[in-house]
């Protein structure tokens, strides 16, 4: 296989400390010139290595997932690959043009029309004018914004904006594509379109780097996954193995998650998450759930803007990244009911004897279908907990203590009848 990306001994150092992240004032520099001879070089400045000694080789046509906790160096690596910043040491070779779907809408200007923005943003992202000319109709058709293409994008809804932006980025002809969690935009139909587009890109044999926190998507799409931890590649291999390792370390994030600062909590102007936790019927927060006992996932959130009929949603997946199920709040009292402002607590109850043992992760979202379908808050990996099946003899495993396959473990009713031993076998329904 030919190489598409070769990363050799790449490290990146950032300076932190001081009053400003990087820039200084002219006054400080002049002051520094005066005091410099009297000082040693380290004036309270610290350095951190965002990446240290990364070596990776990615072949043409490979689809490689990159995972890691926040601050593990994923975005620094992508910035180096997209040439926004240079590595402190080491070098990178790219065979082919590289484009990114990391920041849809880069270069969009609110005062320009859809048409003008397609050209501008396309050029900024590295497309040729002739290329954009050729793709223009396709981009517009993909975005479904034919009627608004001569309108300033500042009059667009946020959904329209993202659709246009994604359409431009998705029509790259670049040989290497970096993708972030862009698929979480737009309505369901548009998301499907995006997935189809990604599929098409893959079929063209282009190289894709896919960065995501969505383990199910990572395992579904990528064969090879690279795990970054504290600036180092700690695992590079088969997707399921890497994901399992990542999740077992992320399980420490725990059974309860709280956001104290409303500004940075997941959500938008309509709703903000406050707390997510796994609880027992008695109200205790638990990280380890007995397979036989029902337990609840409790969401506490602030509704900041009235008039939206909100639907809390939780998706569950296991440590292999398999999505188990998702549940939407369909209870009658708030269904299709615009909510007044306030702090709400919604709890979904998972019955005992449903899930198999293992590590489980819950993605939490809050959607609305009225006045429009929208995703207000989405927090992947909001809670993590462990389901345990102690061999007490009362659960679905009975007296068996070995490993049991499957993602669910319902305690089902068995019925057995007995007859005299007959000459022929007679099959009974269970």
């Amino acid at each position: 296989m030919n190489t598409a990306i070769r990363i050799a001994n790449v490290s990146k150092r950032y300076r932190i400390g001081g009053l400003h992240p990087g820039y200084m004032t002219f006054r400080e520099m002049l002051g520094g010139l005066v005091t410099a001879p009297f000082k040693k070089r380290s004036n309270g400045q610290q350095t951190i290595w965002a990446l240290s000694d990364i070596n990776l080789e990615i072949g043409q046509g490979e689809l490689v997932g990159i995972i890691g906790h926040n601050g593990a160096g994923k975005s620094t690596l992508l910035k180096i690959l997209s040439r926004v910043t240079k590595p402190t040491t080491g070098e990178v070779e790219l065979f082919g043009r590289i484009g990114s779907l990391l920041e849809v809408g880069t270069g969009f200007h609110p005062d320009l029309t859809g048409r003008e923005n397609i050209y501008l943003s396309g050029a900024i992202l590295g497309m040729r004018r002739a290329e954009i000319d050729r793709k223009f109709a396709e981009i517009v058709a993909f975005s479904e914004l034919e009627k608004f293409i001569e309108t300033s994008v500042k009059w667009y809804s946020s959904g329209m904006y993202v659709r246009l932006a994604f359409s431009v980025a998705a029509h790259f002809e670049h040989e290497i594509l970096m993708m972030d969690e862009v698929l979480a935009v737009g309505d369901a139909a548009f998301q499907q379109k995006c997935l189809d587009k990604m599929h098409e890109i893959r079929q063209q044999g282009r190289t894709i780097l896919f960065v995501s926190h969505d383990m199910a998507a990572i395992t579904r799409l990528c064969k090879r996954v690279v795990l970054l931890e504290r600036g180092k590649v700690t695992f590079d291999g088969e997707a399921r193995e890497v994901v399992k390792r990542y999740l077992s370390s992320s399980l420490k994030s725990g059974a309860s998650r709280e956001w104290t600062d409303q500004q940075t909590a997941p959500g938008d102007r309509v709703v903000r998450l406050r707390r997510v936790r796994v609880r027992t019927e008695e109200g205790e927060t638990i990280a380890v759930v007995d397979i036989q006992k029902p337990f609840g996932i409790e969401l506490t959130y602030d509704v900041l803007e009235e008039g939206h009929a909100l639907v809390p949603v939780i998706e569950f997946y296991n440590q292999e990244g398999t999505e188990l199920f998702s549940t939407h709040d369909t209870s009658a009292n708030w269904r299709r009911q615009p909510r007044p402002r306030g702090t709400y607590t919604s709890t979904v109850w998972i019955p005992g004897n449903l899930l198999a043992e293992g590590s489980l992760i819950g993605n939490v979202s809050i959607m609305s279908h009225f006045p429009a379908t929208a995703l207000h808050a989405h927090e992947p990996n909001a809670v993590a907990f462990q389901v345990v099946d102690s061999p007490s003899g009362d659960s679905a495993r009975g007296d068996y203590v070995g490993p049991m396959p499957g993602v669910i473990r319902p305690l089902l009713k068995w019925a057995t009848e007995t007859n005299d031993i007959a000459a022929s076998f007679k099959q009974e329904d269970r």
Binding site: Y23, R27, E93, I124, R129, R202
Partner: protein, 309 residues
């Protein structure tokens, strides 16, 4: 479906990939767009690697300069209610104020040109320079969202500010033309040299703009100092007063100030008088020197912008 199956499904694709080691079998790609070596192979070196002006890269991205300039122009004319009118009003009012001061209160001999025309001809070029430098200085910081997200030669951001200024200048020339007709200025062959002085002024603005843009990213308070520097520079240049009023012992200052050479040369185009070729040559040499030095300095710091801005 994984990639191997997808290749198996379309054997044509797989074939094309193996036939061409670097390019992908996207037929669209190989048809329309030109594929240069830059498309095929990029080497990203570390911060310590050497310094290059890399004009080839600038040429490769040339279309982007066009689109960024177009953006600057369109946005400016869309955001202001008066739009184009501002481009006329700014030099017009400045010209009227100076005419009032230097033609009514203080009698100043402006030589061959009537004072309003004299002042306007200097002000048009000066305001173009001042606005271009100011806009390019702020351009990197105000385009931080671009700089931190995509790569392209950052030089184009301040360059687009200068380019947009040229369009303003072209519009403002209508005012100058009107005034020339009003005062019955005779057309001479000297007018053919107008583009030369505009190009020199644009190159000088680009040179100074690049330098101050790069430095503003690093030293933020420079932008507060800039208006003073620019104002000082204006009074040090024969924009609103003729060079003839400068005392002999200070004349050398006009020689090393490229603005003086450019504006005087531009005025000579209108009057039909003779050009001070020595002064113009020195101005041109200084302009080119500033531009090349600024270009190198800008390139030197370019890669740090995303980390700092």
């Amino acid at each position: 479906m994984d990639l191997e199956t997808s290749k198996a499904v379309s054997p044509k694709l797989a074939q094309a990939t193996s036939a061409d080691p670097v390019l992908l079998p996207d037929s669209d790609l190989s048809n329309g767009a030109e594929i240069g070596s830059r498309d095929r192979h990029t080497l990203i070196q570390s911060e310590e690697s050497g310094l290059q002006l890399d004009l080839g890269e600038l040429w490769y991205y040339r279309e982007l300069l066009y689109f960024l300039t177009l953006r600057d122009i369109k946005v400016r004319y869309k955001q202001t209610v008066m739009g184009l009118a501002w481009v006329i009003i700014q030099p017009l009012t400045t010209m009227l104020i100076f005419t009032l001061v230097f033609n009514r209160f203080v009698r100043l001999d402006a030589g061959a040109l009537p004072y309003p025309l004299f002042a306007l001809s200097g002000l048009l070029l000066w305001l173009f320079f001042a606005n271009a430098v100011t806009n390019s200085t702020h351009s990197l910081v105000s385009n931080a969202n671009l700089i931190t997200k995509v790569y392209f030669p950052r030089m184009f951001i301040p360059a687009a500010s200068v380019g947009a200024g040229l369009v303003d200048l072209a519009v403002a020339f209508l005012l100058l033309a009107a005034l020339c007709i009003y005062y019955g200025v005779t057309l001479t062959l000297n007018l053919l040299l107008v583009p030369l002085f505009i190009i020199l002024m644009a190159l000088l603005a680009l040179g100074v703009g690049l330098l101050s843009a790069a430095m503003t990213v690093k030293y933020r308070d420079l932008r507060h100092a800039l208006p003073f520097i620019i104002q000082l520079w204006m009074f040090a240049s024969p924009v609103i007063y003729p060079a003839s009023v400068v005392p002999v012992q200070w004349k050398w200052l006009l020689l090393i100030n490229p603005i003086a050479g450019i504006i005087e040369g531009f005025r000579a185009c209108l009057t039909g008088g003779s050009f001070a070729w020595l002064q113009v040559s020195i101005a041109a040499a200084i302009t080119v020197t500033i531009l090349v030095c600024s270009g190198y300095i800008f390139r030197r710091f370019e890669h740090t912008f995303a980390d700092v801005v």
